[in-house]
Amino acid sequence: MTHEHDDHHEHASELSEMQLRVRALETVLAEKGYIDPKALDVIIEAYETKVGPHTGARVVAKAWSDPAFKRALLEDGSKAVAAFGLMNRVGDHLIAVENTPQTHNMIVCTLCSCYPWEVLGLPPVWYKSAPYRSRAVNDPRGVLADFGVTLPSGTDIRVWDSTAETRFIVLPMRPAGTEGWGEEKLASLVTRDSMIGTGLAKNPKEVS
């Protein structure tokens, strides 16, 4: 198939077609009084500047630093994150799953694109793509190889298919050599992919 990478590199023809098509729809909806274009501007700005994986990274860093918070997070993700005060409100049904030397967790939505927006922002194109959605559940090690990640032998893989309104965030393993680090510095090790399970936290040498 030649279209499999269109999500990355849209053809110029689709671009102009879509610009016109979306503009027409927005105009009709605004003229009929269903939407306020100014509200759209605020939504776009929020997703471009406010919501993103930096929030999840702070949650992970806090869990690495504070055993009581980690217990609370694994017990009830929504409650723990809301209590942390990162956001005014956090959506229900957030579930944090912990990576250990025995088990590596990976999150997917095979049916659509379910993703923990509030803590990770909007999902990347690859997360919503056919290759990831098809392979994560039966060849997660192959998927990890696409990300340049190899797990130690002896580590089992657990894949969570987000088939309901529950949302998952992976609590990656804290890298060795970070003893005494503050939460802000720890958060700099936490990548988006490490919270989806297609990556690991960064090596401390990469940031120090």
Partner: protein
């Protein structure tokens, strides 16, 4: 429905290709499309499951050859026309040709910060949960023509209930305008070999979030 969207376990789609430093939106129209979806969702004209079903009903060739937000745009057009809120002639004209209908509410810029968080999908239960953690269950072998969240790869398979997640809106009915019909939700865990046979990675386990009507005692 057994549609093209149900991709778990399919072969032939190639490698996963992460894009370094990927922007939030690849073109301004993508952001507008996302925002239109949010703003219309706020008016209460549909449920999240109706919108998912709207994507699933796209023809398979359109589904596979359209970028993510292109699918969203086409879905929006289709649903608005289905609901009788706009006309295809208006989209073609690029302008409203008739007055709009009254909707429950309209999203203003000031309200946006309060709407960025998802609501709750839990609902009061009408009966106790039928299963508990540790129970062995078999997923049903169902093939509804309409929306379901039981993926094909996990039908007719034996697994273990790992957790009870509360009682939630049931997508299979909410998607087709038949109400919340709340059902208990479980995390059900399968061995890779149960799903993928003897060639499976022996260290693999996969879970789905299964509504009670999807499972029966094993």
């Amino acid at each position: 429905m057994d549609g093209i969207h149900d991709m778990g376990g399919m072969h032939g789609f190639g490698k996963v290709e992460p894009e370094p430093n990927e922007p939030v939106f690849h073109a301004p129209w993508e952001g507008r499309t996302l925002a239109l979806n949010r703003a219309l969702g706020y008016t209460g004209i549909w449920t999240i499951d109706q919108t998912r079903y709207g994507i699933e009903r796209l023809p398979p060739d359109v589904y596979l050859s359209s970028s993510y937000y292109r699918k969203w745009e086409i879905r929006l057009e289709n649903l608005m026309i289905e609901l009788g809120l706009i006309g295809a002639d208006e989209l073609k004209a690029g302008h409203a040709l008739r007055p709009g209908k009254a909707l429950k509410r309209k999203l203003t810029a000031a309200d946006v910060p309060n709407t960025l968080t998802r609501g709750s999908y839990t609902r009061p239960a009408s009966a106790p949960a039928r299963f508990k953690a540790g129970d062995r269950v078999r997923t049903r072998n169902i093939h509804p023509q309409t929306h379901t969240r039981l993926p094909r790869y996990a039908r007719g398979k034996v697994g273990t209930v790992e957790a009870v997640r509360g009682c939630h809106v049931y997508p299979d009915t909410a998607a087709i305008g038949q109400g919340d019909n709340p059902q208990w939700l479980y995390t059900v865990l399968f061995d890779g070999r149960e799903l993928w046979g003897e060639g499976s990675d022996p260290s693999l386990k996969v879970s789905i979030e299964a509504f009670e009507p999807y499972i029966e005692p094993a």
